[in-house]
């Protein structure tokens, strides 16, 4: 296996773009990535593209639609869906193709346009799709799952409503300085604590919105492209994990969980990050910047533990002691996180990697973490699937 570098990145600002189709949103990110990498479209030897599940036939063949805009070249185009880890799957396939020597330069592209409001069931067959059960029988939108896990933490570890609010406050301070963020308002703890209660203990400002957005990375092992790239970023590891039997998490879509834990909570994310540490030879102590999936304030706290940045029940201590802020040992989500961007399922994992690259390449402006050498991007993932990417410069 040979070393693989990210030689260019691109991003479309995140928001709601009702007057645009996904190819138009994707075009901006693809063009920016090509320009950044100094790579011509005809030098891209394969395209790994995220599927837009709400995009019909075009969404399921997103890579073909994007390819046709820039000019069809006959290269392999693979479209992939792995829920929130969709972009991780695209990056991992690009990486593996290059590392194995099949190709030299590959693009991973993630674009998504989210439907309005809650993401609901996509089929009508309860025997096949458990999602149908929870929507018809129990009235459980996604944040319910997070609230139930969050309540367990309150009881077990003593997390407080102030901790949840402080996560949003911190992230809003970063988001205000990120030109690509959808939400740029800086919040105070009181403002967050006075936002509407959605599903106790999670309040409105502690749950991410759904957005439209796009992100692209160009990977290469071609020495000339690496040399001519402006601060190429080495991929130390890019991995995926699925859930492990006995995981006690009440996972989105499921209506049951084992009562007795035989595996870690969020075992898919535990697995992905563990593989990444093993593969890269790096550990949580080596990471300067972490982009974690803050779908809610609960995720922020939980992922610090799931990925081994502190012991079980200690995340609120890290938060309270300022260890995850600018100037802390580990700076968490200096992008502003999903709290400032919202989630766009097919694009978000690649977006996290682009934001991590910006930090490593010293391009993060007012949010720049000094001396950032190692960064990690970690996804969440419906039904037990997750991805981790560790990057160095």
């Amino acid at each position: 296996m040979r070393d693989v570098y990210i030689v260019g990145t691109g991003e479309h600002p995140w928001g709601k773009f009702n007057d645009k189709n996904f190819v138009e949103v994707g075009e901006v990110a693809v063009a920016e990535a090509l320009k950044d990498a100094g790579v011509r479209w005809t030098e891209i030897q394969a395209i790994m593209s995220s599927i837009l599940i709400y995009g019909g036939n075009a969404g399921h063949l997103s890579g073909q639609y994007i390819e046709s805009m820039f000019g069809e070249t006959g290269v392999p185009v693979v479209n992939v869906y792995n829920a929130c880890a969709t972009g991780s799957a695209a990056i991992r396939m690009a990486y593996n193709s290059i590392a194995a020597g099949e190709t030299d330069t590959v693009m991973a592209v993630g674009v998504d346009l989210s439907p309005k409001g809650f993401l609901t069931a996509k089929s009508d067959d309860p025997r096949q799709d458990r999602d149908v059960l929870r929507w018809r029988m129990t009235g459980m939108p996604n944040p319910i799952y997070w609230a139930m896990e969050c309540r367990k933490r309150f009881e077990k570890y003593g997390d407080t409503p102030e901790d949840l609010a402080d996560v949003k406050v911190l992230l809003s301070q970063f988001g205000a300085k990120n030109p690509n963020a959808r939400y740029k308002k800086v919040y105070t703890r009181d403002e967050v604590l006075n936002s509407k209660m959605v599903c106790d203990p999670l309040r409105l400002y502690e749950i991410c919105a759904v957005s439209d957005g796009a992100a692209v990375v160009i990977l290469s092992a071609d020495p000339k492209k690496i040399q001519s790239a402006n601060k190429p970023v080495k991929i130390a590891a890019t991995t995926m994990g699925s859930a492990i039997y006995g995981d006690p998490t009440i996972r989105i879509s499921a209506l049951s969980a084992p009562s007795k834990a035989e595996a870690p909570l969020l075992s898919e994310s535990y697995s992905a990050s563990k593989q990444a540490y093993e593969k890269s030879g790096l550990g949580p102590e080596d990471i300067d910047v972490l982009e974690l999936p803050d779908n809610s304030s609960w995720h922020y706290l939980q992922y610090l533990e799931t990925c081994g940045f502190c012991g079980e029940g200690e995340a609120h201590k890290m938060l309270r002691e300022g260890k995850t802020q600018m100037g802390g040992k580990l700076v968490v989500n200096p992008s502003g996180g999903f709290a400032s961007f919202g989630e766009a399922i097919g694009a978000q994992a690649i977006w996290q990697v682009v934001e991590a690259c910006d930090q490593l390449r010293g391009r993060a402006g007012e949010r720049q973490v000094p001396n950032c050498k190692t960064a990690m991007a970690q996804t969440y993932g419906l039904m037990g699937n997750s991805g981790t990417t560790i990057l160095t410069i």
């Binding site: 069931a121 149908v132 129990t138 459980m140 959605v198 999670l202 039997y245 209506l255």
Partner: protein, 146 residues
């Protein structure tokens, strides 16, 4: 324990998820005797790796269990969830049954402010809405044991 096949005037919104018995409403599950795992719904198998998967038996969970965690929902769930009118705020909980599986469901007919992790709850049939024939369309739900 006797299963009651039909309760006059009541229909489940979706089939095969719970049963009426002379000892209350019971969640329908299946147990794999090979890997000692319970499933819910009964048709969604979740075996231990390398399990031979040969001895699966349909079972009914106990009527009562312990509240493992819960939340109080303040926004009405959008369709395809359907109820007669807005039921907010409503409870949702994960209930640990003695068999070793926890099942999620609505918490209704209970003072939501008094909910506590670890408290005993019972399974009952909650009326979501009435269908065109005047039947009560029901789901399983949990409530505090009085």
């Amino acid at each position: 324990m006797q299963v009651i096949d039909k309760v006059e005037g009541k229909v489940p919104r979706l089939p095969d998820l719970f049963s009426w018995t002379d000892e209350g409403v019971r969640i329908r599950s299946a147990k794999c005797h090979d890997c000692d795992t319970y499933f819910f719904p009964e048709y969604h198998a979740q075996h231990r790796p390398d399990c031979p998967r040969e001895n699966v038996e349909k079972v009914l969970l106990a009527n009562k269990g312990k509240l493992a965690t819960f939340t109080i929902q303040h926004y009405m769930c959008p369709p395809p969830f359907k109820t007669t009118g807005d039921i907010t705020p409503y409870g949702l909980g994960l209930v640990e049954f003695p068999e070793g599986i926890s099942v999620a469901g609505l918490i209704m007919e209970t003072d939501l402010d008094s909910l506590k992790i670890g408290q005993e709850v019972e399974t009952f049939d909650y009326v979501l809405y009435k269908d065109e024939d005047g039947n009560d369309v029901v789901t399983w739900a949990f409530r505090a044991v009085k």
